[in-house]
Symmetry: C2
Subunit: 386 residues, 2 copies
Amino acid sequence: MQRIYFDNNATTMVDPLVRRAMEPFFCERYGNPNSLHQFGTEVHPDLRAAMDRLYAGINAADGDDILLNGCATEGNNTVLKAVWFDLIRHGSKDHVITTSVEHPCVGNTARFLQGLGAKVTFLPVNRDARVEADAVRDAITQRTALVSVMWANNETGIVFPVREIAEVCRESGVLFHTDAVQAIGKVKVDVQEVPVDFLTFSAHKFHGPKGVGGLFVRKGLKLSPLLHGGEQMAGKRAGTINVAGIVGMGLAMELAAQNLAFEGSEVRRLRDRLEDALLKIPDVMAIGRREMRVPNTSFLSVRGVEGEALLWDLNRHGIAASTGSACASESLEASPIISAIGAGPELSHTGVRLSLSRFTTQDEVDAVVRVFSGAVERLRSISSAY
Amino acid sequence: MQRIYFDNNATTMVDPLVRRAMEPFFCERYGNPNSLHQFGTEVHPDLRAAMDRLYAGINAADGDDILLNGCATEGNNTVLKAVWFDLIRHGSKDHVITTSVEHPCVGNTARFLQGLGAKVTFLPVNRDARVEADAVRDAITQRTALVSVMWANNETGIVFPVREIAEVCRESGVLFHTDAVQAIGKVKVDVQEVPVDFLTFSAHKFHGPKGVGGLFVRKGLKLSPLLHGGEQMAGKRAGTINVAGIVGMGLAMELAAQNLAFEGSEVRRLRDRLEDALLKIPDVMAIGRREMRVPNTSFLSVRGVEGEALLWDLNRHGIAASTGSACASESLEASPIISAIGAGPELSHTGVRLSLSRFTTQDEVDAVVRVFSGAVERLRSISSAY
C-alpha cells in the first residue's frame, strides 16, 4: 500500500538528519544541563549551538530572548496570559485584538481572557482570506494591550501582512505577537525586517520533533512566566531542559533556512503542478490567491463533495490530507475561511487541504492527482447535491 | 576517564529499551494523532498501550484521567493554578497548604498564588525531615482549598506520609495533590491505596525521555486547563500529542514497575553499601533515617567540607553528584533541609546527594567510596574550619 503524506501543515516527518543529531542525548549524554558536573555541562555546547541556529533561523539579535518550551500552544498561551497578568489585570489597558482564523491555541486563550474580563476583538478575514493592516489600525484603541495575528494561516497557507501590522502596532505603542508556526521553513521569517515583539514556533511543523517549541521575545521586553518553578532560562520558563528536543529543533531550524529557496522553487512548483491539475476538474476552486500563499499549501473547495468524504477516499489509497486544522479535526463546524471569502453555505463543508514538504516527490503529486480526480468523480456520481 | 553517574534524582539515562521503542515515531510513524487519516490513526494503538502502561503503573482506575503534558513542572503548575481559577478566585476558599521543601515548581507557583491573593501555609519539616499528617490536619481550616505535599523529597529521598495526609484531606473535604516525581520507580505509587486527588510525574526521572510528563486526576474531578487551544485530551490539555515521548514514557513506567522489587533490594543494597562505607569517615552524617527513604538516595553532611567543593573533586574523577536540586543548583542558599533537622549553621553548606539507579554497579559504588574518601581527606586538610 502506498503511503503519501500531504498533511504537512498538521505535522511533519522528522528529518533523518535531525533524528540522528538527537540520538546521543537519550542514552549517552543524558545529563541535566542545570547540573554542575560534567554530565550536565558537557551538553552546554550542543545547547548553545542549537540556540545559535534558532537565533540565525529567525535573525534574532543579541539581547533578544528565545524561550524554549513544549510547543507553540505553550508559547501562545504564555504571551496572551502574560499580557493579561502584566498589563491588563492592574493597568489601564484591557483590549486584545486578534483574528477569527487564528489557531485554537490563540483563539481559545483569547476567549479565556474574555472570561477574566479582557475585551477581545476577533477581526474577520476579507475576501482574500487575509486580515489587512488597516483593519488592525482601525481596531486599535487607547486601551489595546496586544495584537496577535498569525504569520501564515494553517488552513489556507495565506501569508498575512505581518510587517505592515507590526509597523501599525509600533506606531500605536501596542505589543505585537505573531504565531509563526506555519511560516517557519516556508517563507522567510526575519524578526529584524518584521518588528514583532513576540513570535512563536513549534519544531514538529518544520521537520523537528514533537514536544518542543520556541518563543521569541524582543530585547527589553519581559513576560511573566506561564510555568513557575526552577531557575531554568533565568526563571522565564521552568522545567527540565529537553536537550534532545532542543538539539533537534535547532538543526531543524537550520535545515529549514537552508531549504527555504528549495521550498520557494521546487516545493512551489510541485504544489502548483498539483493545483493546476486539480483545478482542471470542473467546479474546483482554490481558496486564496496563490501568490499570497506559502509555497506548500493548497486549500481547495470541491463543489458537491464533502471534504471529509473526499479525505476518506484519499485515505483508502494511502493519501493523507485534511479538511483543515488537525487540532479541530473532530469539529463539525463549517470552515470559517470558506464562509469569510464569500462562498455560499453549500460550499462550507467542501474544503480539502493538501500540504506538501521538501520530501514530496513529483510521482506523489501525480498519484494524488489521479486518486483525487477519481474520488471526486465517484463522490459526485453518488451525490444528491451535484 | 571513568563516567559514574550518581545524580539520578536530577535526571536519568533513557533506558535503551525505551529509546528503541521511541524510534519508529520520528521518521516513519510521524503522523499527528488528531488527524483522521491513517498516518494519524495508525499510532492510536501505541498511544493506548502507553496509556494502559501509565494507568497500570500507578494503579489508576477507569474514569480517572492521566493528562499528558511536557513535564512535572507543567503538571504542578496546572494543579495549583487551576485551584486558584476554579476554587479560590470566586469561592469562599482562599488557602493552600504545602511544605517548605517542595520542588520550586510547587513552591514558586504557590508564591505566585500568594501574589494573586491566596493564603499559603508552608509547613516546615520536622527533625526526621518529614511533614507529618498531624501538622497538615492542624493547618487545615474551613478556607483551605488544596494541600500539596510531595510523595518523596528530591534532596533527601525521605518518603512523606502521603497516605495519612491524603486521608486527613479526605476527612476534611480538602483536595490533595502530590508531586510524585521522586517516587515513581523507587517506591510503590498506588492511587487506590493512597487516595490522592492529583498526582504529577515526569518521564525523565524514571529512565524515560525529557520533555514529557503526566498528571493524574481522580475520577469526577476537573481542572481548568493551563494550556488552552485545540481539542487534544478533550480540551483538558491542548498541544500536539508528543507521540514518541508518550510511547517512551509508557514503557519507562512499565519498566519502573517491573524493576520496583530490584530497586527495593539491589539498588537499596548498593546505596546502603555506599552509605555504610562513607559513614565510616569521621563526622559524616546521613540526613534522614534510612528506612524512611527511597532506596536510591543518600544525602550526606560532611563536617568541615563544603558540598560544592566536594562535588568538584568528585567531578574531576568523572563522578556526578549534587548538592541538592539541579533546578536550584546555582543558588547559594543554605539547604533548608539541613537547617530543618536541627543541624547547626556550620553544616548548612555541607550536603552532598548521591542518587543511584538500577543501572548502578557495585564497582561504581566502590569507586565512589574511594574517591569520596580521598576527597574529604584532601579538603579537610586544607580547611580552616576543620
